[in-house]
C-alpha cells in the first residue's frame, strides 16, 4: 500500500533500517513483517490505517511549522472537499468552525494516539528524525487560520498518483469511477471531462450499498435534469433526509459518528456524477456539523427529529427567506419603465423580477447562449408572469445594450477575493455592460459564499460533455467526426469568473454590499458558528 502521495518528499523521518521508502511505509512494513504469514484482522488493519494517518499528520505539522501560515492560505482549496480518507471518525477538525467541545475531544484522542505511536516507535530502532517527530506530537489547533487544506482531487486529473489514490478510495467505498471522455484541451488537462451518455449509474452493481434516493439524485445531476445552484442544494438536502429516515444505528456504534461515515460514500458518488457546487458543499458541511453535535445520550428517533428540523430550518432560512429578503432589497433598485437585462437561468433573479413586476412596470431582455440555452426557461417563466420580454443570443449583446438600463446577474458562488463565479458568459456580459456604463448588479444568497480564491477560469472549472457543441443545420453536422481528428478539440466550459471591478453591487440577504466585502461576510458567518 505505497500509494500515499505525501505533501512533500520530506524523508527527514526516514527510518534507518528499511530501504528508500518513506517513514510510514517503513513503519507499517515492519509491523506487517511481524505478522507475516497471517492475514491481518480487521482491527489490525484499522490500527494500521490510524497509525499511518498519525504519521501523516505529523509530517503535515512539520511542514506548516516550517513554511508558516502565509503559504498555507495561498493554496486553493474547496473547504468541503472531505472526500479523503484522512477525515475518518473524529479526526483533526478542518478550520476553526467546529465547536470547542469537539476540538477538545479530538485533541485528547489525537494525543492518545500519538502516545501509542510513540511507544510503538520507541520499541524499535529509532532514528534522530523520528525523535524530532515524536516531540511534535501535540497538534496545534489554536493558531488562527491554520488552513493546510489539501488540494481537491477533482482539479488533479493530470496527476496519476492522485488518480490511483482516488480509484482505491472509491473501490473501498464500493463506488464505480467515471472515465474521462474525448481528447481534452491542453489548458484543461487537470480537469475531468465526462460524457452524458455514460452515466455512472450504469456501472453500479446490484450489490452496491448506495441508497436509492442518492442514486436517483446522482442520475438527475449528471443528466442535467436538476440544474441551478439552489435546486441542486435543496434536492441534496431532501435526499439526505430520506437517507436519515431510513438509517438505523448498528449495535455498537454511535449515531453521530456512524451516520457521518455512512454519508461519505454517498458524497463521493454524487461527486463522481457531477462536481459538487459551492452551495452543496456548504450544506454538507452544515449537516456533518449538526450530526456530530448530536449528544450520544439521545435516542435514535429523537436524534432523527432534531436532524430533520435542522435541515428544514436551513432550507427555509438560507434559501427561501433569503430570496424574499433579496427580492425586497432589489425592488428598491428597479425603477418604473426600466429595461433590465438578465442572462441564462437564475432562480433567484427570476423570482426577483416576478415579485417586482406585481408593483412596477418594466421590460426584460433575456440573453441566452449555446449549448445549454437556459435562457428559454427564464423566458417561459417571465412570460407566464406577463412581463414583456426580448430574447437574443449572447453575440448580439452589444447591439441590444444601448437600450438597457440595468443588468441583473445570478451567481453560482462568490469567492473570497471578490470574484463572482457564475455561468460561462456572465463575465462577458459584465464586460460589455461596463464598456457601455450600465450598472451590473449580482444577486447571491450568503450560503453560496465560498472561501476559495481564484483569478481566472482555468484553474478550477467544470468541463461539460463536448458533444453538446454539435449542431445540425440544413442536414449537415460539420463537427460530426471530431474525435477522429486528434488536432480538433471541443471545449464546453460551465463556469467563469467575473472580476470585481465589473460588478457594481452585490445584493445578499445581509444587505447590499460591494464585491470586495465578501471576506467580511465570511468572517461574520464563521464567528456565528
Amino acid at each position: 500500500m505505497s500509494d500515499r502521495d505525501g505533501p512533500s518528499s520530506e524523508t527527514s523521518c526516514g527510518s534507518g533500517a528499511t530501504s528508500a521508502s518513506p517513514a510510514p511505509d517503513g513503519e507499517c512494513k515492519k509491523f506487517m513483517q511481524q505478522k507475516s504469514g497471517q492475514e491481518l484482522t480487521k482491527e489490525e488493519k484499522q490500527q494500521l490505517r490510524k497509525a499511518k494517518k498519525q504519521q501523516k499528520k505529523h509530517r503535515k505539522e512539520d511542514k506548516t511549522a516550517d513554511v508558516g501560515n502565509s503559504f498555507a492560505t495561498e493554496v486553493p482549496k474547496k473547504q468541503q472537499k472531505d472526500a479523503t480518507a484522512n477525515a475518518a471518525s473524529g479526526d483533526m477538525p478542518i478550520g476553526n468552525e467546529k465547536s470547542l467541545t469537539g476540538k477538545a475531544k479530538n485533541e485528547l484522542r489525537a494525543e492518545r494516539k500519538a502516545k501509542q505511536d510513540e511507544r510503538a516507535k520507541q520499541s524499535k530502532k529509532l532514528d534522530q528524525g523520528q525523535q524530532a517527530v515524536s516531540t511534535k506530537t501535540k497538534p496545534v489547533p489554536s493558531e488562527p487560520q491554520q488552513v493546510v487544506k489539501r488540494l481537491p482531487d477533482y482539479v488533479q486529473a493530470d496527476d496519476p498518483a492522485v488518480c490511483k489514490k482516488m480509484a482505491k478510495k472509491l473501490e473501498r467505498q464500493q463506488i464505480p469511477q467515471r472515465q474521462d471522455y474525448g481528447n481534452k484541451v491542453g489548458l484543461f488537462l487537470h480537469l475531468h471531462q465526462y460524457s452524458r451518455k455514460m452515466p455512472l449509474t450504469q456501472q453500479l452493481t446490484t450489490l452496491s450499498t448506495v441508497h436509492p434516493a442518492i442514486v436517483r439524485l446522482g442520475l438527475q445531476y449528471s443528466q442535467g435534469i436538476i440544474t441551478g445552484s439552489n435546486a441542486r442544494c435543496i434536492a441534496l438536502l431532501h435526499a439526505f433526509k430520506q437517507v436519515i429516515r431510513d438509517y438505523s444505528t448498528p449495535p455498537n456504534e454511535e449515531l453521530s459518528r456512524d451516520l457521518v461515515n455512512k454519508l461519505k460514500p454517498y458524497i463521493s458518488f454524487l461527486n463522481q456524477c457531477r462536481s459538487l457546487s459551492a452551495s452543496m458543499g456548504n450544506a454538507i458541511k452544515f449537516i456533518k456539523k449538526e450530526i456530530s453535535n448530536i449528544a450520544g445520550s439521545s435516542r435514535e428517533d429523537e436524534a432523527k427529529a432534531i436532524l430533520f428540523e435542522c435541515i428544514d430550518k436551513y432550507v427555509k432560512e438560507k434559501i427561501h427567506l433569503a430570496a424574499e429578503a433579496i427580492s425586497k432589497s432589489a425592488f428598491e433598485k428597479i425603477n418604473e419603465g426600466d429595461v433590465i437585462l438578465v442572462y441564462a437561468c437564475s432562480s433567484l433573479v427570476t423570482s426577483i423580477l416576478c415579485d417586482a413586476h406585481k408593483r412596477k412596470k418594466f421590460k426584460v431582455v433575456v440573453v441566452d447562449s449555446r449549448p445549454k440555452l437556459e435562457g428559454r426557461e427564464t423566458l417561459r417563466r417571465l412570460v407566464k408572469n406577463g412581463i414583456h420580454c426580448t430574447y437574443v443570443l449572447i453575440g448580439a449583446v452589444s447591439y441590444i445594450l444601448p437600450e438597457v438600463s440595468k443588468v441583473f446577474l445570478g451567481a453560482h458562488a462568490l469567492l473570497a477575493n471578490g470574484y463572482v463565479m457564475s455561468r460561462v458568459g456572465t463575465s462577458q456580459i459584465a464586460l460589455v455592460a461596463k464598456a457601455y456604463n450600465i450598472p451590473v448588479l449580482v444577486c447571491c444568497e450568503t450560503h453560496k459564499f465560498c472561501e476559495r480564491v481564484q483569478t481566472d477560469s482555468f484553474v478550477s472549472n467544470e468541463l461539460d460533455d463536448p458533444d453538446d457543441l454539435l449542431v445540425t443545420r440544413r442536414g449537415r453536422t460539420p463537427l460530426q467526426d471530431w474525435q477522429a481528428n486528434s488536432k480538433l478539440h471541443l471545449l464546453n466550459l460551465v463556469y467563469d469568473v467575473t472580476p470585481p471591478d465589473f460588478v457594481d453591487l452585490v445584493i445578499t440577504d445581509l444587505g447590499m454590499i460591494p464585491c470586495t466585502s465578501v471576506p467580511v461576510v465570511l468572517r461574520v458567518k464563521n464567528v456565528e458558528y
Partner: protein
C-alpha cells in the same frame, strides 16, 4: 465607378486629376463636377477592359494577403478567431505551412460557421479548439492575437463584421491583445457609421427562437442581427492586399477607390 470616371477623363484628353495627394486639395476640392454628358464611342471598350483587369486583380488578392502571414504569427502562438472568413482561413493555412501554432475558434451562433472553419483548419494540421461565444472572455487571457475577417470596412476605419465581433474586440482590449483584421481593399466603403441604416441587417429570428417554442413566440420579441459594428479604437491593424495599415489611415485609402463625388452612394 471610379474606373468609369477615369476612362472618361482620359478620353476627354485631360490628364488624370492627380490622386489628390495633399490633404489640402482633398478638403478644398469640393464642387468639381464634370460634365459627363458627352458620349464617347471607345468609352465602353475601355471600361470593359479596365473591369477585366480588376477581376484579375481580385483573383490574386487572397494570395497577396496570405503571403504576409509569417510576418505576423510567431511560433507557438495562440490565435483566436470568430466565425468563418475565407481571408483568415487562407492566412492561417499559409502560416501553418512553416510554423506551428494553435487556433481557438469561437463558433458564432446561431449560424455556427466556426465549426466549418475548425474542421478545415484541423484537416490542415493546425491544433484547433472550438469554443462557444459565451466563453470568449473566459479564454481570452491565454490568447496572443485575435485575427478576424470582416464584411465591410467603413470610412472611419470601423468595421461591419459578423455578430459577436464587438464583444470579441472589447475582450481583446481588456486583455491588451492585438486585434488584426484581414480584409482586401475592395471591402472598403465610403459610408460612415452614424447613419441609421448602415450597420444592421436582420434575418428571421427563427434562428434564435425556433417555431417549436411556439407558445411563447408570440409574446416575445426576438432579434437576430447579422452584423456588428466595431469602432476603430478597438482595432490594431488592417492587413490587406496592399500591406498593413492602421485604422487611422483608412480615409486616405478611400480616395484610391472612390472619387469624392461618389461618397454619397
Amino acid at each position: 465607378m471610379k474606373i468609369v470616371r477615369e476612362e472618361y477623363s482620359r478620353l476627354r484628353g485631360r490628364g488624370e486629376e492627380g490622386d489628390q495627394d495633399s490633404l489640402h486639395k482633398l478638403l478644398t476640392s469640393g464642387g468639381q463636377s464634370e460634365d459627363l454628358s458627352e458620349t464617347l464611342a471607345p468609352l465602353r471598350t475601355n471600361v470593359i477592359e479596365a473591369v477585366n483587369e480588376l477581376l484579375l486583380e481580385l483573383d490574386g488578392i487572397q494570395d497577396n494577403i496570405s503571403v504576409q502571414a509569417l510576418e505576423h504569427i510567431h511560433s507557438n502562438e495562440v490565435i483566436m478567431t470568430l466565425g468563418r472568413s475565407a481571408a483568415v482561413e487562407a492566412f492561417l493555412r499559409e502560416a501553418a505551412r512553416k510554423r506551428s501554432f494553435q487556433v481557438i475558434v469561437a463558433e458564432g451562433a446561431p449560424y455556427c460557421q466556426g465549426h466549418d472553419l475548425a474542421t478545415s483548419l484541423a484537416a490542415a494540421g493546425i491544433e484547433t479548439t472550438v469554443i462557444t461565444d459565451a466563453a470568449i472572455f473566459a479564454v481570452m487571457s491565454r490568447v496572443n492575437k485575435v485575427i478576424i475577417g470582416t464584411k465591410t470596412i467603413l470610412a472611419n476605419g470601423g468595421l461591419r463584421a459578423v455578430i459577436g465581433a464587438h464583444t470579441l474586440a472589447l475582450a481583446a482590449r481588456h486583455h491588451s491583445t492585438p486585434l488584426i483584421v484581414c480584409a482586401a481593399m475592395y471591402k472598403l466603403c465610403p459610408q460612415f457609421p452614424n447613419e441609421e441604416n448602415t450597420v444592421h441587417k436582420f434575418v428571421s429570428p427563427q434562428e434564435v427562437l425556433p417555431f417549436t417554442e411556439g407558445e411563447i413566440l408570440c409574446k416575445v420579441s426576438a432579434y437576430c442581427p447579422v452584423f456588428d459594428y466595431v469602432p476603430p479604437e478597438l482595432i490594431t491593424l488592417f492587413i490587406s492586399n496592399i500591406g498593413g495599415n492602421a485604422p487611422s489611415y483608412i480615409y486616405r485609402l478611400m480616395s484610391e477607390l472612390y472619387n469624392p463625388d461618389d461618397h454619397q452612394l
